[in-house]
C-alpha cells in the first residue's frame, strides 16, 4: 500500500476495532467468572460506562511529571505493540506496519510500557505501588525467559524474524500450525502466556484487596482510564501475537475474534480453576517446567 495517509487510517480503524473487542472481551470474561460463582455478573456494556466515568472525573491531581507520564508510556507500549502486529494474514490493510524484523521490536514494546509504569507508579509514592512494581517486574522477568526461548526456537524453525512470514508458513490447515509442528516450543510459549496475561493464578501483581491494587494504587480518573484503555488493547494484541505464533494467524476478522477469545479463554479457564500463586511460587514455577521446555525446544531445533 503506497498511500501513507490511507495506511494510517486503516491502522487507526483497526485500533478502534481491537479496543472495542477488548472491552467486550473484558465484560464477557467477567460474566463467565461470575457464572462460575453463581452470579449474573456485570452488564455487558459496563466497561464502556466505567471508561466514560473515569474520563469524566473532575478533580484530578498529579504527583509529578513521571506520575503523569507513567500511563502515557504504558499506552505507548500497548499501541506500539499494536502498530507492528500483523492482524489479518494476506490483507495489506490490516497488516499495520509489520516488517521483516518485527518480532524483536514486539518483544521490546512488551517490556517498554511496564518499565514506564514502574517509574510512574514509583513517583506516586505509595508503598503498595512499589510492592506491586517489584512483584510485577520480578514475575515478568522470569516469564520472559521461556517466552524468549520459545520465540528463538520458532525463529530458527521458520528461519525468519517476521511474523507475517511465520503465519505464511503455517497456512494450509491445522497440521501446519506451530502447535502441531513444534509442540515443545508451543508448550513453553503457552506457559509463559499465562504469566503475560497476568490473569489468575498469576495475578498477584495487582492482587485486588491484598496490596490494594498494586502499581496503579494512586492512579485515578483519566490516568486510570488510559490504563484501562491500554489493558483492552494490550490483551487482544497479545492474544493476536500468540495466534500468529502458534495458531496459524487469521484470514478474516471473524476468525481473529474467535481465535483471540479462545486463546484468552485458556487463561480464564485456568484462572477460575486454580487459586492464586504467591510471587515466589510463580517465579519458581516459571523457572521450572516452562524453562526446561524452552531449553529443550532450543536443543531439539538445533
Amino acid at each position: 500500500m503506497e498511500n501513507i495517509a490511507a495506511k494510517l487510517l486503516w491502522t487507526f480503524l483497526g485500533l478502534l476495532i481491537v479496543l472495542n473487542w477488548g472491552m467486550l472481551k473484558t465484560s464477557i470474561v467477567r460474566k463467565i467468572v461470575a457464572r462460575v460463582g453463581g452470579r449474573y455478573g456485570i452488564r455487558w456494556y459496563q466497561p464502556w460506562i466505567n471508561l466514560i466515568k473515569l474520563y469524566g472525573t473532575r478533580g484530578q491531581l498529579s504527583h509529578g511529571v513521571m506520575f503523569y507520564l507513567g500511563p502515557v508510556f504504558r499506552i505507548a507500549g500497548g499501541v506500539g505493540l499494536f502498530l507492528f502486529m500483523p492482524l489479518i494474514f494476506g490483507d495489506p490493510r490490516w497488516s499495520n506496519f509489520a516488517f521483516a524484523g518485527d518480532l524483536i521490536l514486539l518483544l521490546y514494546f512488551k517490556f517498554f510500557g511496564m518499565l514506564g509504569m514502574a517509574l510512574g507508579a514509583g513517583e506516586g509514592g505509595h508503598p503498595y505501588s512499589a510492592i506491586g512494581v517489584s512483584r510485577g517486574l520480578s514475575q515478568y522477568t522470569t516469564v520472559e525467559i521461556p517466552f524468549t526461548l520459545g520465540i528463538i526456537a520458532l525463529a530458527v524453525q521458520y528461519d525468519t524474524l517476521s511474523l507475517t512470514e511465520m503465519v505464511a508458513a503455517q497456512q494450509g490447515g491445522i497440521a501446519n500450525w506451530t502447535i502441531v509442528t513444534n509442540p515443545i516450543a508451543s508448550a513453553a510459549l503457552l506457559f509463559s502466556m499465562l504469566g503475560i496475561f497476568m490473569h489468575a493464578p498469576f495475578d498477584l501483581v495487582k492482587a485486588p484487596n491484598e496490596i490494594p491494587i498494586g502499581p496503579p494504587t494512586e492512579y485515578h480518573g483519566s490516568y486510570l482510564g488510559v490504563l484501562r484503555t491500554n489493558a483492552a488493547i494490550m490483551h487482544i494484541t497479545e492474544a493476536v501475537l500468540f495466534m500468529n505464533l502458534l495458531f496459524g494467524g487469521a484470514n478474516n476478522w471473524i476468525e481473529l475474534i474467535i481465535k483471540t477469545f479462545l486463546i484468552y479463554f485458556i487463561t480464564v479457564f485456568i484462572g477460575v480453576v486454580f487459586p492464586r500463586f504467591r510471587i515466589e511460587q510463580s517465579v519458581r514455577f516459571f523457572l521450572g517446567v516452562p524453562l526446561i521446555l524452552g531449553i529443550l525446544a532450543i536443543i531439539l531445533i538445533m
Partner: protein, 232 residues
C-alpha cells in the same frame, strides 16, 4: 550507611510544638550519599498545600451524559467503620449480586467515588474517614448507613462516637435502620443513582464551599489533630 540525619528543629516544650508530635513530621536536614544537603519539611513537601477548589459542572448536556455514566458506575471505597460493614460483603455474593447494578468495590480512595460510612463512627475512625474522603477525586458521594450516622443510634450518649455525620462531611443518602439489610442498601444505591442523574449530588462542591465550617467541626472533635488541613 553513609547517610546522616539530624534534626535542626528540636521540639520545644510549648503547646505549639505539640501540635505535630510525630517525629517523621518534623523539619530536618538530610545528607544524600554524595554529601548533598537536603532540607525536608514533611508537612510542606509530602502534602498538597492548596485549599480545595470548586469544580462546577460546565456544559449541561455533557454533564447530563457524564452524570448518567457516574450513576451507573458506582465504585465503593472498601472502608468499614462500624458494625454496618458486615452488610457490605453480601452485596458481592450470588444472593444480592450488586455488580448487576454497576456497583463494585475498589480498594483505594483514589479510584472510588462512593464512600459508605457503615454505622457508628468513633473519633479515631473519623480522622481516617476524613483523610480518605478528601483523597477521593470529585465528584464523590457519601452514603450513610444505619441509625448511628443520623442521630447516634444506640451510641447516642457514647463519649467516643460522633452523633451526626453530616456535621463532618456532606452526606448524599441516608439508609436508616439498625442494621439495614443489603436490600435496603441496594435501595439506597438506587436513590443515590436518581440523585446523581438529577444533578443534585454535588457534595464535593458543598464541602469546598463550607470548608471552614466542616474543618471547625472536625477539629472540635479530633483533639490530636496531627495532620495538615489539606491532605488530598
Amino acid at each position: 550507611m553513609s547517610e546522616e540525619t539530624k534534626h535542626n528543629n528540636q521540639p520545644e516544650n510549648t503547646e505549639e510544638s505539640n501540635k505535630f508530635p510525630k517525629e517523621h513530621l518534623q523539619k530536618r536536614t538530610v545528607y544524600s550519599p554524595d554529601g548533598e544537603k537536603i532540607e525536608i519539611d514533611p508537612l510542606q513537601d509530602y502534602y498538597l498545600q492548596d485549599r480545595p477548589e470548586r469544580r462546577d459542572p460546565r456544559y449541561r448536556v455533557v454533564e447530563k451524559f457524564l452524570n448518567w455514566a457516574r450513576s451507573e458506575s458506582l465504585w465503593i471505597l472498601g472502608f468499614g467503620t462500624g458494625c454496618g460493614s458486615i452488610e457490605l460483603p453480601p452485596l458481592t455474593t450470588p444472593r444480592f449480586d450488586a455488580f448487576r447494578f454497576g456497583i463494585a468495590m475498589r480498594p483505594t480512595p483514589r479510584q472510588s467515588n462512593v464512600f459508605i460510612i457503615s454505622g457508628y463512627m468513633s473519633i479515631k475512625t473519623l480522622k481516617r474517614a476524613i483523610r480518605s474522603y478528601e483523597q477521593m477525586p470529585d465528584p464523590k458521594y457519601v452514603v450513610a448507613l444505619g441509625s448511628c450516622t443520623i442521630n447516634g443510634g444506640m451510641y447516642f450518649d457514647s463519649y467516643n462516637t460522633i452523633n451526626r455525620l453530616d456535621k463532618y462531611m456532606p452526606v448524599d443518602v441516608y439508609i436508616a435502620g439498625c442494621m439495614p439489610r443489603p436490600e435496603a442498601l441496594i435501595a439506597g444505591f438506587n436513590k443515590l443513582k436518581q440523585r446523581i442523574k438529577e444533578g443534585r449530588a454535588e457534595g464535593a462542591n458543598e464541602y469546598v464551599q463550607r470548608f471552614d465550617e466542616y474543618k471547625a467541626n472536625q477539629k472540635q472533635i479530633i483533639k490530636d489533630w496531627n495532620m495538615p488541613d489539606y491532605n488530598w
